[in-house]
Every structure is written in C-alpha cells, then in structure tokens.
C-alpha cells in the first residue's frame, strides 16, 4: 500500500483543480508527484528551489492576497529553519495557510538528526492562529485537508512515512475531534500516528492480564479534544500518552495541563525523550528502543498499576 507521503500530492491536486485559489509551493521536493497538477494548472504550482525562509515569506504575500497557499518540504527545514517567518508571517500578521511537512519523528531513520523533527508539535502550538493535524491514512488526510485548508488559520500537516493500517470511514474524521477506537475502563491510552498499530496489538495481551484499555486516537493535535480525554480519564483514572515527539511540549504536556484539576489520575508516556538521536537502523528499531512496541506499551500500562 502506498504511504500518505506518496499519496497526499494527488489529494491536493484534486482539491486544487476545483479551487483556483489554491497555490502549491514546494522547495524542490515531491515535484514529480505534483506533475499532473503543474501540467493542468501551471499558475497554481511553483517549485521555488531550496530556500525555506523565502518560501514561507513569499507564501505570506500570497495569503495576504486571499490565496489558499500550501507550502511543502521537510518538516525539519520548513518548521525549524523558517520558524521565525512562520511565527511572524502567519501568526503575527494573522494570515492563514497550510504547511505540509514530511520527515517528522524518525521517519528518515538513517539520515541522522538533521532530517528528524521531534519538536514540531511544540513549535507549532506556540504560533498564534495555528492548527496541527497529523493524518496517517489517505482518508484522514483527504477529510482533514478539505475541512481546514481554507479556514483562515495556519494549519500544519505532519505527513508520516508509515501507517497504522487502521481503516477509518470518512464520516468518522472530524477536525478537532478524537476517535475512541476501543472503549475500556482501566486505562486510557492516547495515541497519534503509526504507534496506533502497536497499541492495538497490545490489547489482547492486556485483556489477558485483566486490563481493559480505552484507546483514543488523535489526528488533530491542536485543538486537542480535551473533552473526550477528560471524560475518559475520569472513568479510567490512568493515562498513557504515546506520541512520536520530544518529551518537551507534546501532547502529554497538554493532557497534564488540561486535566490538572481531575483527581487521582496516574500519568505515563512514551516519546523520544529529550536528546538528539544518534542511532540509525530502521524505523521499527528506533521505535523498539524508545518503547513504542506493543511490549513497551504493555510495560508502561503495567507500571501504572491497578
């Protein structure tokens, strides 16, 4: 099955063919996948070259004229190198647009940390007027892109290389809303991205241990569905957040902050920690090392106790 990394240009092309205000800018990446769009709508697509600061600056000019601009390249360069342009150009100037980043987390498992991004949620949450969306499958991206790309906010889409393989119905995907994949009573597991697969793989073993997990899947990181999360935690009293992100500033921090008034909740997390990753190997090897495997998830749930 093709990954979302490979499929998303086709979805944007479909939207762009219907909306002549959609302007796609790429920084010399994904160019061939956008070829059908470029051939049909040459005025709506530009490969500007490798200049991330300027691709963001120029996109704010297009946004100021009312275009629905979509900017795309590696997350590490687009977000982290150009963060000031994003912060000021979109946030301070209250302009809307879309940033599509690939290579978050350790998707580029052998490239070294220059091509990782562990802090994208933390950075983008701090930008005024921003939204953060993390679709994993084609149906998630199709629904979430159409719901948000022209809403006047700056929407960051984290596009993963690897899928959780869970099949959603389009009507289940609502921007800003979490999805209860499985109801349970003993622990709330909040998860985003590919690790949903490991979480689901851990269910059978947990149930053998007489632990009934409730699984909340998040495709929207900001705004966080705190209502759903709070209700679940009030029921289970135990929380495990599984996110491919730094320990600083991710979903776990938000869950803690927003549920701080709930009583007697035990919290735990699985993430990338707080340092650069100097190891290589496969995506799965990175995940296993940080505890994203089903075994790692079971260990964390067990450590939360009864």
């Amino acid at each position: 099955m093709s990954s979302l990394r490979e499929l998303f240009p086709q979805i944007i092309t479909e939207v762009g063919l219907k909306d002549d205000k959609l302007i796609m800018l790429v920084s010399d990446i994904s160019h061939f996948r956008f070829k059908p769009f470029f051939e049909k709508r040459p005025k709506q697509y530009y490969n500007v070259g490798i200049c991330e600061n300027t691709i963001v600056n120029m996109s704010t000019g297009l946004a100021a004229l009312g275009f629905h601009v979509v900017v795309h390249t590696f997350t590490s360069f687009l977000l982290e190198r150009s963060f000031e342009q994003i912060k000021l150009g979109f946030g301070y100037q209250k302009l809307g647009g879309n940033i599509i980043g690939i290579g978050s987390g350790v998707d580029y498992s052998c490239h070294g940390a220059t091509h990782h991004c562990y802090g994208d949620f933390a950075l983008m949450k701090a930008v005024d007027n921003s939204e953060i969306v993390f679709p994993v499958t084609e149906v998630e991206f199709r629904e979430l892109f159409q719901q948000t790309y022209n809403d006047g906010k700056l929407t960051f889409f984290r596009i993963p290389q690897y899928s959780h393989d869970f099949v959603f119905n389009p009507e289940d995907i609502k921007f800003g809303k979490g999805i209860i994949i499985k109801e349970g009573k003993d622990v709330t597991i909040i998860v985003c991205g590919q690790p949903l697969k490991s979480v689901l793989n851990s269910v059978k073993e947990l149930e053998k241990l007489d632990i009934s997990p409730e699984i909340i899947y998040l495709h929207t990181i900001k705004p966080l569905d705190i209502v759903m999360i709070s209700r679940s935690l009030q029921k289970t009293k135990k929380c495990l957040v599984v996110e491919e992100h730094s320990m600083y500033g991710g979903i776990f921090d938000d869950v803690l902050r927003f549920t701080r008034d709930l009583e007697n909740i035990k919290y735990s997390f699985i993430n990338f920690g707080g340092t650069f990753i100097h190891e290589y190997g496969t995506y799965e090897q990175h995940h296993k090392r940080f505890g994203f495997s089903s075994e790692g998830i079971i260990d964390k749930v067990m450590a939360l106790g009864k």
């Binding site: 070259g49 000019g61 297009l62 100021a64 000021l88």
Partner: protein
C-alpha cells in the same frame, strides 16, 4: 519635492513624543518614501484595501517613522494616531503592524522578511492578472540577511518585472559587514539596476519615469545612496550614536532649527 523638512520634523517629533524610534534610519529614506506616495503609488486612503492598489512594503521596518509621516500626510492615519504612538493600545509603534495600521501591508521589524512577502504579492498579482506593482524598501544592513539574496535569486528566476526593490544604502553596514558594490551584486542576480542619490528628487523622478513595471521581465532594483540621519549634521556624522536615540526637548529644538535653515 517640497517640504520634506516638515516630514523630517514630524519624524523627530514623533520619536521624541513616543520616547522611542530610529530617526537616522527614517531620515535616510523619507525623500524616497514621500516621492513614492506623491507620484508613483496608486492607492486610496479612504479604502486602504482597494483591490487595484499598488503595494509598498517597508522591509526595513525600523524606518517606519518615515512611513507614518507620509501615511498621515495622505490621510491613512491621523495626528491623534501619532500622538498615541507606543502607548498601550496605540495603532503605531516602533515597528509597523499590518493588523492595526491602515495602509501598512506587512508587519516588519525582523530584517529580511518584508522583501519575501513582497515577492509573494508580486507573484499573486501575476496570477490574478492585475497590473499593480509592488515596491519594497530594504536597507544595506538588512542586506546582510540571506533572505534578501534568496529573494533576489527567486524574483529574477520568476521574472517578476512588477516588483521593484529600493535598497537604502546609508552606510549602516559599512563598519560591520559591508555590502560593497551592490549594483554589481544585484546585476549578477539578473535584475535591472539603477543607482541614484536617494535624496535627489530629480534622480528619483528620472528613475521611476524610466522603469517599466512589466510582468514577465527582469525585476528592478534602485540602489539609493543616502546618508543616515540626512538633514542633521550631528546625526550624519555620528549615526551610530543616534541610531535609536530619543532627542531631549532641547535637542528636538536644535533639530527643528537646523532643518529650518537647511534646504528642503
């Protein structure tokens, strides 16, 4: 142009009154900015978002006192707005905010960003098939920023002939990271280059009369050689000291006296 000295007085006064500002940076560009709004730009101060307007972006945002003086002259903002500058809920501050000030197209202050936004607007106007032009003003100090040269490369590549950069070479960068021979640098990036005395209105007029803001052509850059603090000898001779200095009441009076005695 006549009565530029009144605009210089306005700049000095608003800096004194609001207790913050960059007088020398504004003095070096006021002749050009005043000329643009008098003779070059299409706009409607009663309808600042008029769809067919031309666009001016002050990329060297700290020179905004010059822009404010001109916007007031043309009716975008009022004397009251100037009086309230830098107060808690004011429209105007030490750097301009497009969200708050009618007639301001970009919230600049971080050097190297306005020029990129200008490029985006120029491209957008092409897509919309509008004949409006985009003029952005940068500084030589600002030209230390990499984004200036990224934009220069890209605008030339895209043949954005509806974009004009005015580069205010007032010597700011000379003692730190000098941008020598800017004419040759911009020419090597594929721009039409004009080089003028940025305080000489005849040269400013001749240059703008000769620029054809035609899309799908080379973009244009005007290297404006200016003096930082132009009009006040103490500022021209020691602009580093005066860069963000607020004049005392006595110094303000001295500035007025010297401007009154000087040429336009």
């Amino acid at each position: 142009m006549k009565n530029i000295k009144n605009l210089r007085k306005e700049i000095a006064w608003m800096t004194y009154h609001s207790k913050e500002g960059h007088i020398p940076s504004a003095f070096s560009i006021i002749d050009i900015v005043a000329y643009l709004y008098e003779y070059v730009l299409k706009f409607d101060s009663k309808n600042p978002k008029w769809e067919d307007r031309d666009y001016f972006i002050l990329s060297k945002g700290h020179g905004c006192a010059a822009l404010y003086a001109v916007l007031k002259k043309h009716g975008f903002i009022t004397q009251k707005d100037l009086e309230e500058k830098n107060t808690e809920f004011a429209k105007l501050a030490t750097h301009p905010d497009r969200v708050k000030i009618p007639g301001v197209e970009a919230s600049t202050g971080s050097l190297g960003t306005g020029i990129g936004m200008a490029l985006g607007i120029a491209l957008g106007l092409r897509i919309l098939n509008k004949p409006s032009k985009v003029i952005t003003l940068i500084g030589d100090g600002e030209s230390n920023e990499g984004t200036i040269w990224e934009t220069a490369l890209l605008a030339s590549n895209l043949k954005l002939g509806n974009l004009c950069v005015i580069s205010d070479h007032n010597g700011s960068a000379d003692k730190v990271l000098a941008v020598t021979n800017p004419e040759k640098k911009w020419d090597s990036f594929g721009w039409n280059v004009y080089s003028i005395d940025g305080h000489d209105s005849k040269q400013i007029k001749k240059t703008f009369d000769s620029i054809n803001f035609k899309d799908d052509a080379k973009p244009n850059v005007i290297i404006a050689h200016t003096k930082k603090g132009k009009g006040i000898k103490a500022m021209e001779d020691n602009f580093g000291y005066w860069h963000s200095r607020v004049p005392t009441e006595e110094q303000l009076k001295e500035i007025y006296d010297e401007l009154n005695k000087g040429e336009n």
